[in-house]
Symmetry: D3
Subunit: 255 residues, 6 copies
């Protein structure tokens, strides 16, 4: 069983954390294949970066040539999920959805502890579109940026514990860690907070394994039907490097 | 890994179907322990039977003495889910929730094909309380009662295919089979309908395995905290047979 | 006019409070018939106890042999309401629904003051399923258990007044007392808080009288249609004492 | 017990139907006092007429000098309800709210059969603002105008039965008659449709009696607090006839 | 292009403020025609006054004889909007709707700073009915009455700034000034708060100009179809002064 | 006043239609600056294409060097809107939002007539995230692809008229044309359907003019605050052509 675990940014460090924790969570026999976009920002912390990341992730997925059984989209609250489902027949498990789903099975209400306040609006939109907002008591930020999570793990855990406690006062009896980069910190936080804490990446890994073991594939009869193949595209996939530069004329962006 | 799979009715035949299919879906090494209530109706097909079943299932769970790692509550749309979560520290996976969650990962909208029209209102309530109604296009009945599912499998599949097609016209691109007794029919329906079809029991089995492999337990800091132990109870658990009959005085039900 | 007022627990003391206050609220000519389950917990303060109580209440209702014109279900926020509606042709007035309805006629928003925090989730679910959550600003707990309400009435009223004031700060301009055991305390709280305060039991009594005077009966054309009669049941009604003990073989709960 | 039953239009015929049926529904000892506005349209069948009626009804209520214990606002789906609650300390029972509330106690879902399609949007708004839309499956029109209800009662009942049947196909297991002028037709429709049918006026009468018997009054601590008395008004109440005509100068409606 | 800007109260001072600011916001070539009711209260600050104002505004609009291209309804959160749309073929732009719409284009969430707490419930209802509540984080009051806005402008701006800051803490990144009388204060508040601040009147003026320039007219195929002309009315329009006084017999308001 | 009108695809023909109609709708003195992405698909008709377009549009906007006062995002139902708001201080008017807003001012409910069924889910998500779904009765497809709109205008208008009529039967009293490529067809459809029909592009143009004339700018205090500038990016903006090809090493997309 091969899981393609796709980071949403170009950071090798974050990708390594994700892959490492995915491997720890996976069953024996599951191979974790890490993938990251070849272009875009080093972290997605807001709408603009999220939309660019979405395209870069779709590029990475559509140009990946090896075999795989399911995709884990490892950008918490990031865009692109539904696009990947259109591209693929294999299941696409978004870490935002999978972690919220599992939390709802062992708790009455969950809260999300994330990185920066700039990500909150996008996370709420993502949960709402996924139909998973009803049992979420709130999304709060630690003010730890993606790039700073690993700088001082104790400090990061402290910040998550504070935010987790605040979410519990809002009614949460489980916490979801709202960034792929938080992978590996759930156990420490469970010890601190006394409630189930869900890492989003490992949640998605075990859910993806579950879907594959049932033999389920992405539906192709609705909005996830494959895109038409006979459409003209320019400069896509971006990673192919075939994009014609602006001064060669294509960039004449006035009609 | 031991999964306690609890049928919601006293039917041995339905319990056998559930256990058999749970075993087919489970990983090597997962032991399926079938359990059914010792009292109540032979099937739960409406609010009254559902509420009685809920208590009988809670009785069965609370008096089961063997070890287990998670519970699968195998009554589709039936009551009692939150009560079991209060009783146990192990994860309690409701087949209604788990199947809807998985369907949402491979389809944009799902529909539920169930047995009798009398069950529809309870199923909708169950999905709504679980926060999973947003992506459900509808719940439709086949008019096949629980007890009649196995009588003529071809006829049952035909009825499910008709209802599935109707749900697709309402916008579903995945179908959930809304009765534990439909276990084992999903593949045939996928071939007929061309969309992912989820059996609720096997969905819950693989999700329960996923939760156990992550080491998650039911939250005890909110409404699922264990009930107080020092409360007076009469005639409970019912299955203990210790209930004093009405004519012995306890039944003096006028204050 | 005979009203069957059904407590949800086995406590004679609580049943007496309920019946006494129901009698005070009833019109001349209305007879209050108190009923309580013959089995179950002495109070329902959370999901598990609520589900057991639901079955025990349905048992009590279905085995009650005298005539009555309507039922008042006197368990605030407890389960079973829809089951009783299936069983009966007479109106079934849930104290949770009736008190919220009346509050909405004399106030813009109401809040619920209840007993323990463990009951809050179930109360919210009950209001949501009844379609009455929109005008509820919140449900807060006094930390007075059902069994302690009568211990020190002044203390109970103090606790309710504190919670009532908190609910008013959340926007409530009426308070609903969220436990049948609070019956009789509404006037004192009105004097303290200066807003309408609704006791749930007496609310349901006058609403039941209203329904009966209109001659309305429970609809039998939808999900409240009577359960099928030709279904096999075991050990039901529990109160009949006919349950075969586990060691007689029925308890062989493995298929 | 004196109930002020306020028709929303100037039609004596409709007021008589309302009063007659209110009297039939009221308890012995309840006096029905009919009231109608002295200005406005002969029927309110759309937003414009509804807003004018609202002011005319508030005029009639605020200038009524006799004693009363509660008001029944007998304009189905019409505006003004919250204004009357501000004006009065007595309970104000809107027929739209009361009938929906009672229907929800004996049925799982209700539908509204009204007069003209032009009234549907306002009725839906009224139910939504009252927090009672969740259990309403729809509002459908008979195309019988208010003024034509009494012309041919058999035809009116036929039209209501057709619309009622359509609402049942949408999932209603109770019907609310969505016009005060339909008062008296509920029994005939129950016989035709086999489900509970609620006349809105009689529903409000019995609910008003219930509220009065509990001694509840309109909350004055929130948005229903009495309007400030020291504000300048011109031409109000309209019914006093003191309005200065436009050509006397007040009508200089350009600043 | 002629815009009929209709104040909801009889205050000349408020009308002047509205007209003055409308003129400042309008394009060259747009003529602002101020209109105010000839009867009703000097300010609408709660449900009762709002419903009377609604009828008085509809009276003013329906009796205005000059030509105009669109109406701006300049009562924030007041009733009557849908009635005016029935009366007219020209677009009717409610300041509550227009300002919320524009705020949603430059901010993620908005909050409303209004006058008295008594207006809050009506404003929320107005936004909800208009389908614009989802992105509103709250409505808070400054405790500055309509009649006191101009008394000490610095104090009013201070109060609005305090409330604006509170709304920003609730998540608003834009503020709407929730009273027509606040017209002209938006720039000062933008300087104080650092977020876009919308005056409701000028928002509606530019939106009305936009609608007119597109040539759009109010739909007459749904609930805004013109009222039937052949209906009997009494005492309407009120401003005509033709109302027969009560003692002339029409006021016999008992049927 | 300069409006940057950004098509979401690379089609010059569609861009020309958009610019032409924007110019017809704009006030004298407004300059329309057409812009289209230099990469991506020739039309966005589903989730995958929409996400790629979003990034390509953000690229085009961020690299456009001329001055402008507001942006019109001319991709109906497409992603990227919130990203553009983060990038810019000028107002960003999405054609999906603007047309729905204007429709709500002249009609009670609107419906959307779009191109292919594959676009429906994305359009609904876009309206929901914008808080504009409450008054939308539905989104229906004509089965005319973006690229085929201009092939036979009469046929396109016929298809839109059929879909418009279906939406009216669902309760719409205004229609929104759900594709930028439909620009220019609204008048013909108004004549056919007898209800207001909104072209999304021209709606956005006049709304953008309105916002600019008020002097409003995008809020920078919430989730639309400008992205951090000191973050590492690779291969962005894509249109700069500086992307290193995969075989130069950057494409080593395994961590």
């Amino acid at each position: 069983l091969k899981l393609l675990v796709v980071n949403c940014n170009i950071s090798s460090a974050v990708t390594e954390v994700i892959v490492h924790n995915a491997e720890l969570a996976a069953r024996p026999g599951t191979e974790i294949i890490g993938l990251k976009p070849t272009w875009g920002p080093e972290s997605a912390e807001g709408f603009f970066e999220s939309f660019v990341s979405a395209a870069a992730v779709l590029d990475a997925i559509s140009t990946y040539e090896g075999p795989f059984d399911a995709v884990v989209m490892a950008g918490y609250g990031e865009h692109g999920r539904e696009g990947a489902r259109q591209l693929l027949e294999q299941p696409v498990v978004d870490i935002t959805e999978a972690s919220a789903q599992l939390a709802c099975l062992v708790a009455h209400r969950f809260g999300v502890a994330t990185t920066l306040t700039t990500t909150i609006a996008g996370i709420k939109d993502s949960l709402a579109i996924a139909g998973l907002a009803d049992r979420c008591v709130g999304v709060l930020a630690t003010d730890v940026p993606v790039g700073g999570i690993a700088d001082d793990e104790a400090e990061t855990v402290d910040a998550l514990a504070s935010v987790g406690a605040a979410l519990m006062m809002l009614g949460a009896d489980a916490i979801v860690l709202g960034c792929a980069g938080f992978a590996g910190l759930d156990r420490m936080l469970e010890a601190r907070l006394g409630v189930p804490v869900f890492d989003s990446v490992t949640s998605a890994v075990v859910v993806a394994e579950a879907l594959v073991s049932l033999g389920k594939r992405t539906s192709k009869s609705g909005p996830y039907a494959a895109p038409t193949r006979d459409k003209e595209w320019v400069g896509w996939p971006v990673s192919s490097g075939r994009l014609v530069a602006r001064d060669e004329g294509l960039g004449a962006n006035r009609p």
